[in-house]
Amino acid sequence: MVKSKIKLQTKKLNVWYGNMHVVKDFTLKIPEKKITAVIGPSGCGKSTFLRSLNRMVELVPGARVSGEILLDGENIYDKDVDETEIRLRIGMVFQKPNPFPKSMYENVAYGLKVRGITEEKKLRLLVEESLKKVGLWEEVRDRLNRSALELSGGQQQRLCIARALAVKPEVILMDEPCSSLDPIATAKIEDLLFELKKDYTIVIVTHNLQQAARVSDYTAFMYAGKLIEHGRTEEIFERPKDKITQDYITGRFG
Amino acid sequence: MVKAKTCERLGFWAARVAILISLSITGYMLFYIISKGASIISWDFLTKPPTSGMTAGGIFPAIVGTLLLVTLAIVISLPLGLASAIYLVEYSSKESRFVRLVELAVYSLNGVPSIVFGLFGMAFFVKFLGFGTSLLSASLTLSLMILPTIVATSVEALKSVPDHFREASLALGATKGQTIVRVVLPAAFPGIITGAMLGVGRAAGETAPILFTGAVFYMRGLPTSIFDPVMALPFHLFVLATEHPNISKVEPIQYGTALVLLILVLLISLIAAVIRYRYRRKRKW
């Protein structure tokens, strides 16, 4: 069904919180330079699934993961894989815009500094590049040293995306990145997604079915921890095969 | 990257060692006092007055004195503090000059060293108002000292009641007074109680403010009026430990007194902490 190159792939992924089995035998292929949306009712495990893709789920005390996640064919959960390395390759953007309470410049430079880049000139250049990519450069070039918290919600979210882009990740995970934004800021982020997918593989979790329909190339429908249906977004929204999917997307659910 | 990992390991260990040291010092202190004091405590020790120049007998008057001081102090400061807090949070606008003045006053009061409260108590209650060195002067001094704690915790408690509760109530046609009494105060209750307990704990343990305002080293019998001076546990311990002519003879009594004081204060403090924790966990808004 998926024809482009597979960038990221989960194989029989399972996640438990303590005794609670939250993600169940999840096998999904995520194609390169496409947008894959994960939809499903609240609490079905979308965020958990997403966080398992860059090993952020390990930060939850009591979380346990089994199965494989292959990034370009390599299992990121292998013993000798460094999770910080993985997180440089798989960036993440969160539900609420969360810039650090530092200057805009520092925010974007942060990941680069973590990576050991200290040369001022190089940093400037890379920061500018990232900010341009998210279309924020023109808006903030004159006040890069002002606090990032002065920006509006939508701008903050774009800054956070720029911050994630700065370290040149290959994959970007987004957990409901627009749910705290107004429709206009949301539209801007969606436009940005179209630009970004030229260079990045994107996985987005959203509650907003319309958003999934608008922006994604592929859609995965998740229910009670299981992958119910996965396919081209058109297929899912026009011809879902599964009864549950049909009920969910037509709002006849629950 | 390898360096980053090493840094992390070192940092974590430093932090672990720090907390271990911190806890073990205090832990040792508690262990020390408990082990030394436990053998002293008996029914008689708790219920008998001291005898033979303090070298024998119990500490009953000091216990009673402390309880009296604390009770009186809280009875004065809780209504005052709570009412202030209600005024500050519910009845005034944040920009009003008066509110800022009150806040400033509360903060200032909180920073005043206890010995300065002692000085003030002596100058104002003892001398100026003529209450003399008495239970009343000492309690008033203590109540002022714990007032900022009570105001601050009550304000916090009231503020932590989300505005949407108030809005919901007002939107249902309730008046402001009904809203405060029926919705805000019940929701803030645990926080207010914690504040009160904290105040009680502080009042019970302080020595400096009562030094010149009401505490005496020894008195015959219990105070009969609020104008009598009182014995108090902390003061008792202080004097026994530093000024008693026969220090080696009263050593066991020192430990005993220290332990009783410790238990009293820790108990109050523990109750406050437990209430707070339970409440924090239960709170869902």
Partner: protein, 220 residues
């Protein structure tokens, strides 16, 4: 669905479907009556058919509008959307069926007062078949019955066969008796109309299958 009385999506879809069913019933009846008027040379009935076509047109307009309402206001997806798409397409077919009924009725009027070309046998038979298909296509739509829809393909072939036969027969009349030319031509047209009505019924059947399965299938 009157304006100003908002309903839930499912109710609105039901409304749409029942309106479409109503339109289907009107169109079928119109064809029946038109053919009856032709057979019985009943001008009054023919005029009635022509007048009543307005109802069908109005209904098409209304249903189309409602479809747009529902899309604009409810963002239907998946089967809900396919149902609406199907309604949109079915109503154009039905409207065209209605127009053919009018065409037939007009022919009735044109031929009024003249001796018949020949006894009408095959045409009523075709009409019966075509209307039967139409009714069944609408039933398939109502019930979401795709196997019923699927059978329409075969039945359409039968109508096509009959149409050919009628045309051939009439051509022979044409050559025999030039005076009856114009009426013979008219009857040929009627046959072609009926054939097209059967085509429309087949189209509707295809749409029903699409609605149910999400795939376009050619059934003839």
């Amino acid at each position: 669905m009157k304006l100003g009385t908002r309903k839930k999506l499912s109710e609105q879809l039901e409304d749409l479907k029942s309106k479409t069913m109503e339109m289907g019933a009107l169109a079928s009846t119109a064809v029946e009556k038109a053919v009856e008027s032709l057979v019985k040379r009943n001008v009054r009935l023919a005029k009635k058919v022509i007048k009543e076509d307005d109802k069908i047109d109005d209904l098409e307009f209304e249903i189309e509008n409602n479809c747009m309402h529902v899309i604009a206001l409810q963002q239907p997806v998946a089967k809900d959307l396919r149902t609406i798409g199907t309604c949109l397409k079915i109503i154009t077919d039905l409207e065209r069926v209605g127009d053919r009924a009018v065409d037939i009725a007009n022919i009735t009027i044109e031929m009024a007062g003249r001796a018949p070309v020949k006894p009408l046998v095959d045409i009523p038979r075709m009409a019966e078949l075509a209307v039967g298909m139409l009714r069944d296509s609408m039933r398939a739509f109502k019930e979401g019955n795709s196997s019923l829809a699927f059978e329409l393909g075969k039945r359409d072939d039968e109508v096509d066969r009959l149409a050919h036969q009628v045309t051939r027969e009439l051509f022979s009349y044409l050559v025999e008796d030039p005076k009856k030319i114009s009426d013979a031509v008219r009857l040929m047209l009627v046959a072609s109309f009926l054939e097209r009505i059967a085509d429309h019924a087949t189209n509707i059947g295809e749409r029903v299958i699409y609605m149910e399965k999400g795939e376009m299938v050619r059934i003839n």
